[in-house]
């Protein structure tokens, strides 16, 4: 295996504060969501766990919703749904997009030209729009929303992977490996992947925040996760009719989305500068 150590220059600096902050937030949110069944004071679906539209109190720290369900329990449980959709969409989008990107970079001129053209066209449309259009035909629901978001991320990941792979393709060690008679498949697997894998994972975190936002948006419109499931966007959609009487239904799920997206943006943004070949040497 050839490892070109020059790909990612490990700058001898301390880890940026933003990365630490983002990582801390992400760990707390992931832990809270994973441990939700043990942490939640009430069953998130149980109606009349308290009075209806009750303000935050010691018994119900986030208050209750229009059916008297405990909002803290719903927000914590909702985290499992949001993070789950995000992870599933990012992983499948990254795998498909990554394969397309590698194919474009290593399968010859014709494939490269066609794939790049298609990806560029798709990339010019906002991912929310692609996800919306797909869900419109697939129908609402958690699986369809996840699938739609995954597909909407494919152009982004294909573009990024192609960029990284094309930069790698020009390096002498690839030429040496080719001259040694290695076929393209093995070349990509053994030599290219280890060198761009790290960068791809960083780009994965950037897609994650946009996946969470899309999922919340779709559910808010009634096209994603369906009520009574406590997805954050879905809680906001059902709570919007009570915003005068019970603003806490609006505040807590919204803050949960913000903090989750923020944590991944903080991590991804700071690390991207280190790995994105197009940004290298640029501010």
């Amino acid at each position: 295996m050839t490892v070109a150590t020059a790909t990612i220059k490990p700058r001898r600096r301390r880890m940026p504060v933003t990365v630490i902050l983002g990582l801390g937030l992400a760990v707390v949110i992931a832990a809270a969501s994973l441990l939700a069944p043990y942490l939640t004071p009430f069953d998130p679906m149980r109606m009349a766990a308290g009075p209806r539209l009750a303000a935050p109190s010691i018994a119900h720290p986030f208050g209750t919703d229009e059916f008297g369900r405990d909002l803290l329990s719903r927000v914590l449980t909702g985290g499992r749904l949001s993070l789950g959709i995000g992870i599933a969409a990012v992983v499948s989008g990254l795998v498909v997009g990554g394969l397309l990107g590698l194919l474009a970079a290593f399968a010859g001129r014709a494939v490269e030209a066609v794939l790049l053209r298609v990806v560029d066209v798709l990339y010019s449309f906002p991912d929310t729009l692609i996800a919306l259009a797909l869900v419109a035909f697939l129908g609402p629901g958690i699986e369809n929303a996840t699938l739609a978001i995954a597909i909407s991320l494919v152009p982004f990941y294909a573009r990024v992977t192609y960029g990284l792979a094309a930069a790698e393709r020009a390096k002498p060690y690839i030429e040496a490996a080719r001259l040694a008679g290695i076929n393209s498949g093995r070349l990509v697997r053994v030599h290219v992947m280890p060198n761009i894998g790290q960068s791809l994972i960083v780009m994965g975190t950037l897609g994650f925040s946009s996946a969470i936002l899309s999922a919340a948006g779709l559910s808010f419109l009634g096209l994603g996760v369906q009520p009574p499931s406590p997805e954050w966007g879905a809680i906001l959609a059902s709570g919007r009719n009570y915003i005068t009487k019970a603003p806490w239904i609006l505040i807590f799920p919204g803050l949960a989305i913000c903090l989750t997206v923020l944590s991944f943006n903080l991590i991804g943004d700071s690390l991207r500068d280190l790995v994105d070949p197009r940004r290298k040497g640029r501010p």
Partner: protein
């Protein structure tokens, strides 16, 4: 220049054709039978009515023929008729287009009016407190879901303070949704402006201007602003596309009578001809805007014309 324009126009036309064909194909990814899905919410779902619908949508023809026929009709401006209300899809979309467009332009104006100065400030004060502050605002801005910001704006400005109406389509009603869109996307504009200006400030001619003893103000306003603005033009196209995407949700939050609201209604009702029409019209808007931006870029930057 003429070559550049014709190349861009042709590429845009090809993209629109591809989108039309794609949205013609999409109806076939509907799990199960699209007619059953559409009629599921209707009381008049007799076998006769369903067969009639199938014939009307041409669903009894082979797939390639359906898609070809759909593309042919769309190119003539015929998007079919909506399932609910049996109205012309093209007419329904056309009626709402001015509303969607005016909101998008107002939102973009707000985003540029806030984002460009902030980006400039950050680039000039690079590495200092003002820069950090702007970048923190920018990362917060891209992390806040637009629809949540919209709900909070309604809560504060309409319900608590009573300054602006909650919903409707008069000029007073455009303020809150435009502000919401603008605030959401100004972060993106600020970041891109910052990196564009930082790149320009690293150029040799800026160093020359400074070496000639020009005042910093003059260097920035005369020598750096123009080339930076050129790259900001491309940003505008990109932001506009994203803004249109976000606008679908915002129109629903503020009950703004635009295409986005119509589309989500159609999506919830499974009105496929309507959804197809929405996809084609929305995608075409994105394509036309990015084409115009490309051509404008050619006018502004002489280097582009020679390619």
């Amino acid at each position: 220049m003429l070559f550049l324009i014709s190349k861009r126009v042709l590429a845009a036309f090809a993209t629109v054709i591809a989108v039309i064909i794609l949205s013609g194909i999409l109806i076939h990814v509907v799990p199960g039978d699209p007619v059953t899905a559409m009629m599921a919410q209707s009381v008049s779902a007799t076998p006769e009515a369903m067969a009639d619908m199938r014939a009307r949508l041409g669903l009894d023809l082979p797939v390639w023929q359906q898609v070809g026929l759909y593309a042919w009709h769309v190119l003539q401006g015929d998007f079919g008729r909506s399932i609910r209300g049996n109205e012309s899809v093209a007419w329904l979309l056309l009626q709402r287009l001015p509303n969607t467009f005016s909101l998008a332009v107002c939102g973009l104006t707000v985003a540029l009016a806030i984002g460009i100065p902030l980006g400039f400030l950050a680039a000039i004060k690079r590495g200092r407190l003002a820069d950090t502050a702007v970048m923190v605002i920018a990362v917060l801005g891209v992390s806040i879901p637009a629809f949540w910001l919209g709900l909070i704006m309604i809560q504060v400005f309409s319900l608590k303070l009573g300054w602006l109406p909650v919903a409707g389509s008069s000029w007073r009603n455009i303020i809150l949704p435009a502000l919401t869109l603008g605030l959401t996307y100004c972060a993106l504009v600020a970041r891109m402006t910052r990196s564009a200006l930082i790149e320009v400030l690293a150029e040799d001619y800026i160093r020359t201007a400074r070496a000639r003893g020009l005042r910093e103000r003059q260097v920035l306003l005369v020598h750096a602003l123009r080339p930076a603005l050129i790259s900001i033009v491309t940003v505008v196209g990109l932001v506009f596309a994203y803004l249109l995407g976000g606008q679908v949700i915002i129109e629903n939050v503020f009950s703004w009578n635009g295409i986005g609201r119509l589309a989500v209604q159609a999506m919830l009702e499974r009105d496929y001809p309507m959804i197809q029409g929405f996809i084609v019209v929305f995608a075409t808007s994105v394509v036309i805007v990015s084409m115009l931006i490309d051509i404008l870029y050619g006018f502004l930057d002489p280097r582009m014309r020679q390619r």
